[in-house]
């Protein structure tokens, strides 16, 4: 059992609110397709948490959604990873992820950030944005203030990057395939990739999404490494179990005959479950932690992401 029977009543408020916010986000996204449901659910969660009196009643449900629903959603997203699109580029995608991780790590150390904040920012920028920060935070047991500041920093930088890619595709002067690569390899959230995929053709969007999803593999490896290093986290949180359904679904979708149908069938589910998880993540974010932590996390994220994208962009230009 994921939750003890006696704890179910305490889980319901937080989980219910997360579900409600996810439905709202899906509704908004249905009205305005450019507003990605995942991003909207996270933002709604953030605003709900800080402009409503959430109280302690939501804590258990939020914790449950972050710990189990969010990884489940990420696992389900394995169904959206089409290896045929990724093809021979997967080493470059993973290499780009590692590059972003390394650059962010070095910049954060250079700016004097603490170990935990460094890891949170590096994981968020290089793998899966808010999802990654929430999961790494669960393993490391970081303070809510650090987690919140990291999520806000990464989301802000990601959104800015998303707009840059969305507004100036032609200014970058590279082909859509390369642009898809850059977006998939550098934007921290899947929603950021898909929301502003309009500059690209549908194939390129799927390719960019696949590139993005491929970086989830890095998240699994990172969590595995951190879980071995960290003794404080609960055993259940140490192992990135979501990688198992992720891998199974990746194999199923790409190797089975009806893989594409399965992918299409699981797309709404994966989006909804992940939205619930991200809404819960948003509910856990304290907006006032950003001013408390100061400019340094944001500056680190912006600087590291900028260097990384510039480097990858320059490389892509030469290819």
């Amino acid at each position: 059992m994921l939750v003890d029977k006696s704890e179910i009543p305490s889980v319901i408020p937080g989980a219910g609110l997360s579900v409600a916010l996810a439905f709202a986000a899906l509704g908004v996204s249905a009205l305005y397709p450019s507003l990605d449901a995942l991003l909207i659910s996270l933002v709604l969660g953030m605003f709900a948490a800080n402009f409503l009196e959430k109280g302690s009643a939501l804590e258990a449900g939020v914790r449950f959604c972050v710990s189990f629903v969010l990884p489940a959603g990420v696992g389900l997203y394995g169904s959206q990873l089409l290896l045929s699109g990724v093809g021979p580029f997967w080493p470059y995608v993973l290499g780009a992820g590692l590059l972003i991780f390394a650059i962010t790590f070095l910049v954060a150390r250079g700016f004097g950030l603490e170990d935990e904040m460094t890891l949170l920012l590096s994981a968020g920028l290089s793998t899966a944005g808010a999802c990654a920060i929430a999961m790494v935070s669960g393993v490391l047991g970081t303070e809510a203030q650090d987690t919140s500041a990291s999520i806000i920093s990464v989301i802000t930088v990601g959104l800015a990057g998303m707009l840059v890619f969305g507004f100036y595709p032609q200014g970058l002067g590279i082909a859509p395939g390369k642009l898809a690569f850059i977006m998939g390899a550098t934007l921290p959230s899947l929603g950021m990739v898909t929301s502003f995929g309009a500059p690209l053709d549908p194939g390129a969007i799927r390719l960019a999404a696949s590139f993005k999803l491929l970086r989830v593999v890095l998240l699994g490896i990172l969590l595995l490494v951190i879980s071995f290093k960290s003794k404080s986290a609960p055993r259940c949180r140490r192992f990135p179990w979501f990688m198992i359904p992720f891998a199974v679904l990746v194999l199923a979708v790409n190797l089975l005959g009806g893989g594409s149908r399965l992918s299409a069938a699981l797309a709404p589910s994966s989006q909804f479950v992940t939205s619930v998880g991200l809404a819960a993540v948003g509910l856990g974010v304290e907006l006032d932690s950003a001013p408390r932590r100061g400019m340094m996390p944001f500056a680190t994220s912006l600087f590291a992401w900028g260097i990384s994208v510039l480097f990858i962009y320059l490389v892509m230009r030469t290819l």
Partner: protein, 1091 residues
């Protein structure tokens, strides 16, 4: 703050939007077309044709909302980080405010960039600065008030006390909370209130004043104080408060009375002083004098010059201490003397400066002390010290002298000098009689001395002094009635003093001192001389005691020398004797002689007989005799039981003294028994005792007993030495025998390579003898030639290795002294020194083993194996071949029997060979392997001859047997002897040509049987003869004949084992004669090694 946040948000929003939109606008203006057109135009130029753009300003309202939302979201989130500065500024202000509230001074907060907050922070910092200044001012004021010695209080216009300082608390005991905001009149009585009101009124009008009144202190007592009032003016010149400075009036009163008391004490102290004390001003006029000084000047001293104080008419001395004090400023002291009343008077003047606060000398305190009497005492003490020194000299002289004759001259000289006398003499009392003898004199004529050398006790002055032991003095000898009959009266002496030389026990003599002038004697003179006489008497006793001790010491030294001589004599006697019995006899004889005893013996405790005689030199008593029998205990038995020396003299015996029956009872009056220690270190119970018997009564003294104990120890050591010597000799002899019995050459060397032992074999190899080889360097033992160079090298190497504790084994060849080249094995072994720490190596043993015999054995072994193989090969091959043919059935009919016969023959041949080898093995076991029994030799010979008859007949050889006379039975091994006969007969038949003859003769020859086997065969070639009888040797004529080469060798050995002989005579081509002589009975251990 909210304003700042909102402002920041919008600034960011506008900036960000402008940053996104401006380029698009720019591009639109530049081309004059829409951005979409621009993008479409550019699209074909880009690397890939399929280029899709974002239609920001297009028709999609949805996309516009999305972009707006995202921009809004970015601006919102980014502004959160911007708000961090404002939050920090507020936090700094809050922290500073908390510090101020907590009573701590706050540091200036940093000024934020925000306008309002910056103003607030600036105002806050100004406020903090003002607060800090006020606080510092207040602290300074409190500090000053706390430092004030005088108490103060401040009264406001409502007559309330509004301020006090710590001195106020110290003066009246009130704490601030007891006083502040109370009416001032509560601290005074009614009278004081009136005074207080009057002065406070004046003060309120701006006047300063002071008053004396009594305040009520906290304990309730009234405290007199003086208060100085001063008005405190406000900013507009009005009097706001009154400041009152309080001084303790009681303290001044107390100080005055204390000063008076001190002056009274000073006066009392000055007046109580016996010395005169005056105080002078700078003009040397007396301003103060104590009672002693005033009493000495009835007219009064005050105002007079200082010299009046001590009776001087004037004081012009340059060294006046008072003047010195005035000039130097330091204390001075001076002794001043003058004649007063015909006598010398001395004063000590001590002057001390009295300085004012500036350090200038304003007055001089002078103390006069009359030290005339003190000076007189000092002179007397000096004189006494001189006398005491003289006495000490005399005492020292007496104590250092060891001869009485040498003592008196210096003593008399010192006494004369001390007392100022003209002469003196010393008489000594004889130790055994009443006579006094003159020992020393000075100042008396020779004639008088000649006539008065001795006095008896009681006679004349010396005799009376000696007899009474009292000092005699006279001022004038010639006028003294006590000395009318004295011989000294006519010597011219007048004053005379005689003192006994009193020792611890008696008077030892008399010292007389005299003067040719009259003199009165004081008691001190008598004490002085009496002490000198007593010291002389005691010294004399000590000298005499010393002389006795010296004589005793000389005697003891002589006795010790005598004992040493005796011991040396005993040691010399036993040194050269190794036989214990002889040594015992010698020792006992010496001991008897030394102790001058009439009989001496040594008895030994025996378990069965009691005490038995071990040695009795010269007593005619045999060794082993039990002199006391079993029932009687002798003196010796008691001494053994006691473990110490026992002496017995008649009835005063320490132990039972029973003269043993073997000695003549009644002849011996005294005896002494001494137990002799046994075992190494003498740790075991003694079992031997020496008995000494005396025909006269003799009690051995302590020296004798000590000597006897020493002699017993010497005897014990001598016996131990003899035992060890015997054991060592035996061990050495045994070791030599063992060494010589070893067939290998053995050489032992010390670590330097000098030979310490060598056995016979090695000596033979080296061509030397053991005595010659001892001490020589081992490498020089063997012949120095090329063959032995390696030997010498290996010897040195073996020494080196073995000294490190390692063994060495080397095979080599050496040349012996007689020129033989021997293969040897050289082995070296370290000899470990078990006595040394760490197991050092004391030497090395070399073993040289001759390998010649080993090589011969190896050769024989190889020969034997070869012979056995050869012998067995043919018959076994024949048996196998014929057996296979029989089994295969390939033989012609009727031949089976022939083949079976041949197989039987070959089998017997194998049996014979085996018999030879078995016999060989048995014979190698020695004569003890023989199974002896009486044999009829004639029958045995006849049986063998009969056995070989058919074989001889087949070859046409005739066998003749002749037994001469009757043969007596022989004790021998039948099988072995039969083997000899068969062997001899078989050889004779085998090596005889066809139609030859063999003759056997047997006859008695004394106690032996003589047997001759003679054939007419081929004989033995000369070259083969020396080898006949050697094992496995076959003659050159043996050819294809079967045989092992053992037959003759075995026969020879069997005959020898029976104590017989065997001889071979042979002439090549003519035949061989073998003569065998067999004794009837073999002697035990006999084995004839003849031919």
């Amino acid at each position: 703050m909210k304003k700042s946040l909102i402002t920041g948000f919008f600034i960011f929003l506008l900036t960000f939007t402008a940053a996104i939109i401006a380029p698009l606008v720019f591009m639109t203006e530049y081309t004059g077309r829409t951005a979409m057109d621009r993008m479409e135009k550019l699209a074909p130029l880009l690397p890939e044709q399929k280029f899709i753009y974002f239609n920001l300003l297009g028709s999609s309202e949805e996309r516009f909302i999305a972009v707006g939302f995202y921009i809004f979201l970015i601006a919102f989130l980014a502004s959160l980080f911007l708000g961090s500065k404002i939050l920090k500024a507020i936090k700094d202000l809050q922290t500073a405010a908390d510090a101020v509230n907590g009573g701590k001074p706050a540091a200036a907060v940093p000024l934020p960039s925000d306008g309002e907050l910056r103003d607030i922070a600036r105002a806050f910092n100004s406020l903090m600065l003002a607060l800090g200044q006020k606080d510092a001012e207040l602290q300074r004021k409190n500090h000053y008030m706390g430092m004030m010695v005088d108490a103060l209080w401040v009264i406001n216009d409502e007559n309330l006390v509004v301020e006090i300082n710590p001195a106020f608390t110290r003066l009246l005991g009130y704490e601030p909370e007891d006083v502040l905001n109370y009416r001032v009149f509560e601290f005074v009585d009614e009278e004081g209130e009136k005074i207080l009101r009057k002065h406070l009124l004046g003060c309120a009008q701006g006047h300063s004043s002071s008053c004396e009144l009594r305040l009520i202190s906290k304990p309730g007592s009234l405290k007199p104080v003086t208060i100085s009032w001063s008005p405190i003016f406000g900013e507009e010149g009005e009097v706001t408060e009154c400041l009152g400075i309080l001084r303790d009036f009681m303290k001044e009163t107390e100080l005055r009375s204390a000063l008076k008391e001190a002056l009274d004490y000073q006066r009392a102290i000055m007046d109580s002083m016996p010395e005169k004390l005056i105080v002078l001003d700078q003009d040397l006029r007396i301003v103060m004098a104590n009672k002693a000084a005033s009493d000495a000047a009835p007219g009064g001293l005050t105002g007079k010059q200082c010299h009046w104080a001590y009776g001087y008419e004037d004081c012009t001395a340059a060294d006046c201490p008072v003047k010195k004090v005035l000039s130097t400023g330091g204390p001075q002291s001076e002794i001043i003397g003058r004649i007063a009343g015909g006598q010398q008077v001395h004063h000590e003047v001590i002057a001390y400066p009295v300085e004012n606060v500036q350090g200038a000398v304003r007055h001089v305190v002078v103390v006069f002390r009359d030290i005339t009497e003190k000076r007189r005492f000092e002179a007397e003490i000096k004189k006494k010290n001189t006398e005491l020194g003289s006495l000490l000299d005399i005492s020292k002289t007496l104590n250092q002298s060891l001869k009485s004759e040498e003592v008196f001259a210096p003593v008399i000289e010192k006494l004369l000098a001390l007392m100022g006398m003209d002469g003196g003499c010393v008489f000594l009392l004889d130790e055994m009689g009443p006579e006094l003898s003159l020992k020393y004199s000075k100042g008396l004529s020779a004639g008088f001395l000649e006539e008065n050398k001795t006095f008896t006790t009681g006679q004349d002055i010396p005799g009376k002094v000696a007899s009474t032991g009292r000092i005699f003095t006279t001022a004038d000898l010639t006028a003294d009635t006590r000395t009318e009959a004295s011989a000294f009266r006519h010597t011219g002496m007048k004053a005379c003093l005689a003192t006994p030389m009193q020792g611890n026990e008696k008077v030892n003599g008399v010292i007389m001192l005299f003067s040719f002038a009259g003199r009165e004697w004081t008691e001190m003179d008598e004490d002085l001389i009496g002490g000198a006489g007593q010291a002389a008497g005691m010294a004399l006793e000590n000298i005499r005691r010393y002389e006795k001790m010296r004589q005793l010491f000389t005697h003891l030294k002589w006795r010790r020398d005598e004992e040493r001589k005796k011991v040396a004599q005993v040691a010399a006697a036993v040194a050269g004797i190794s036989d214990p019995d002889r040594m015992l006899d010698s020792l006992l004889v010496i001991l008897q002689d030394l102790m001058q005893s009439d009989f001496i013996w040594l008895l030994e405790r025996d378990e069965t007989k009691g005490l038995v005689v071990r040695s009795a030199p010269g007593g005619g008593i045999s060794r082993g005799l039990a002199p006391y029998g079993k029932d009687v205990r002798g003196l010796e038995a008691d001494a053994l039981e006691k473990g110490g020396i026992l002496t017995a003299i008649g009835e005063n015996a320490e132990a039972a003294f029973t003269v043993p029956p073997c000695l003549e009872a009644g002849r011996y009056k005294a005896a002494c028994a001494i137990p002799v220690p046994v075992g190494e270190g003498g740790g075991q119970p003694p079992k031997w005792a020496i008995g000494l018997y005396f025909r006269r009564f003799r009690q051995p003294g302590p020296e004798d007993l000590s000597f006897l104990r020493m002699m017993a120890d010497i005897l014990h050591m001598a016996l131990e030495k003899a035992r060890l010597h015997k054991e060592a000799s035996l061990g050495k002899s045994m070791a030599g025998t063992i060494l010589d019995s070893i067939e290998d050459g053995i050489i032992a060397v010390d670590p330097h390579g000098s030979v310490t032992a060598i056995n016979r074999t090695a000596a033979v190899m080296a061509g030397t003898t053991g005595a010659e080889a001892m001490g020589r360097v081992f490498t020089g033992l063997f012949k120095d030639n090329a063959e032995n160079a390696r030997l010498n090298l290996l010897l040195i190497e073996g020494l080196t290795e073995s000294l490190k504790g390692r063994h060495q084994y080397r095979e080599l060849a050496m040349m012996t002294a007689n020129g033989m080249l021997l293969p040897i094995v050289l082995t070296s072994y370290p000899v470990l020194d078990e006595g040394s720490e760490g197991g050092g190596v004391a030497g090395v043993v070399f073993a040289l083993r001759d390998l010649t015999r080993n090589q011969e054995i190896t050769r024989l072994k190889n020969e034997f194996v070869r012979a056995v193989s050869q012998e067995f090969k043919d018959p076994v091959s024949a048996i196998l071949g014929m057996s296979e043919m029989l089994m295969d059935g390939e033989l012609p009919a009727g031949k089976e029997a022939l083949y079976l016969k041949a197989i039987l023959s070959e089998g017997r041949q194998i049996e014979r060979i085996m018999t030879d080898y078995l016999n060989l093995a048995e014979i190698d076991g020695g004569p003890e392997r023989l199974r002896l029994s009486p044999l009829d030799m004639g029958k045995l010979i006849a049986d063998v001859v009969r056995e070989f008859g058919p074989a001889a007949a087949r070859r046409g050889i005739g066998i003749g047997l002749e037994i001469k006379g009757g043969l007596r039975p022989v004790e021998g091994d039948a099988a072995k002897l039969k083997y000899i006969l068969r062997n001899l007969l078989e050889n004779a038949i085998t090596y005889s040509g066809e139609n030859g003859s063999v003759r056997i003769e047997a006859a008695m020859d004394a106690d032996a049987i003589a047997l001759t086997v003679k054939d007419t065969g081929w004989g033995i070639p000369e070259a083969d003869r020396p080898h006949m009888g050697e094992k496995f040797y076959r003659g050159s004529l043996s050819g294809d004949t079967k045989g092992t080469g053992l037959g003759l060798s075995l026969s020879k050995q069997i005959v020898q084992m029976h104590g017989g002989t065997i001889n071979i005579d042979s002439i090549a081509g003519e035949g061989t004669t073998i003569r065998l002589r067999l004794p009837l009975r073999r002697q035990p251990g006999e084995q004839n090694n003849g031919d």
